[in-house]
Amino acid sequence: MTEAAATLSQEDYILFEQTKRKHRYKQFIKGMLFLLPSIVLFSVFLFYPLLRTIYLSFFLTDASGAPTVFIGWDNFVTLFQSSIFQQSIKSTFLFVLYTVPLTIVVSLFLAIIANEKLRGIGFFRTIFSSGMGISVAAASVFWLYLFHPTIGFLNIILDTFRLEKISWLTDPSWALIAISVTTIWMNIGFTFLILLGGLQSMDKYLYESADVDGAGYFYKLRRITIPMLSPTLFFVVTVTIINAFQTFGQVDILTQGGPQNATNFIVYSIYREAFTNYQFGSASAQAIILFIIILIMTIIQFKLGERKVHYQ
């Protein structure tokens, strides 16, 4: 009798285990079905290309992009010895240096003045964020006109003040600045919108107690606003840096990498090497270098971004 009960419970147990496993299996299939479309597309258009780019960077290729001769690290060695690539890296970093701090400072200024509760403030917010709706192609065309040597607005202004006209896009020492100005103008919309969001989500009571203490406007700005905004600022800085490294459209329309490679930023350099010179191996090596730079930036963002949770 007791023996029978024991076997029965054992059978029950096995049955129970089986059902549990079946259930788990079913849950797994269900989860995968919901995720499958994303996983397939990420595999085909993201993970595979990344591995393939690493692979190609160790090869010479033919004009169709098929690898022909394995050459180890030669692509990288040649790149770092090439004066054109050195120039490209230098221009890219200079460009980041010119655009990122100015974009942040200008956007922060706009966000602060647009955070006041005034009549008609919505109009100004819309104007300041309008850059987000203007594509790189359109923005570049606008500035192509502004930089035009004879009929361009900037040179007309210089002319009215009897100053010497500037060859904005054809003078190697001005082209990088011209592209930077265009880029800052383009990026302000997005950065402004994020910073304004950060300002609006801040606690009001801190300001109220500061008001009670009789703190001045700039004191509050320096001691409350900026520190409280630091996580948002940090996010915006890293996103702007990453975007700057990925710049392409402005260069393609305004300067095509010239004059004398002064604006041949890394993405444009990859594009030219791969789709004009058909050097897919060397272009892949450059793509890997770009990937590593952006990877480092993203890791910094995640690592430091985690920390913000503690002091919020």
Binding site: P37, F45, G133, I194, Y271
Partner: protein
Amino acid sequence: MRIPLGRKIVTYFLLSTAALLVFMPTLMAVVMSFMTNQDIMTGSFPSAFSLDNYRRAFEQFSLMHYVINSLFVSIIIMIGQLVLSSLAAYAFVFLEFKGRDFLFYLFIATMMVPFEASIIPNFHTIRDLGWIDQYTGLTVPFFAMAFGTFLLRQNFKQIPKELREASQIAGMGEVKFYLTVVLPVAKTSLITLGVYGFLTSWNMYLWPLLATTNDSVRTVQIGLRQLQSQEQMNDWGMIMSGAVIVIIPTLILLFLGQKKLQRGLTEGALK
């Protein structure tokens, strides 16, 4: 608290000056698109207002064809992103299965791979699939989207667990729960993500440049590039009218959805 008058005046002055500076390039382009080329070349104030530039852009340059291509491509990408992101977000929030956390980290990892660093193999893939000059080549690579998945995951998490339990007791399947409960509740986030997806797709530049070799599916951004490189230095009125057409749909979307977009992006970015 009332703002003192002096500060009000200073703020309005700063706001107006900044607005004028920020909007100047756009404003000039709009004005130029209605000017005659003679006025533009001599740098004088507009002497006449005409729609001639727009007429020529549409007639000689088949601008409408590019606009329709862009609309089609952007809407397809938008829908693809909404479907794939919401499905993935649903799995991450409501389903429990082995390997879920691993997959979640894999999704995070995708944000570290810049598209620009993988264009070479992607171009070859599209070419080998015969997707060059096809709508598929312009749209399918962008359907899967980690940012959209996170944004919706954040939103789905706010749906009470009781709702799901009740639906399970009532014998409602996953698909029905996803379609009839989760999606309607997350409507606002879906709209935000949709607007964002449309904006970014409409403004895409590098990929459409590579994935099109003729006018059949070419988007309006690349059309504008053609226009300015063909017509450079002489027909500024027509170029500007093309540029204005390019920015109108996105500016309208932005003006309508600015508040929502701002809230959505800030949430997605900072949570």
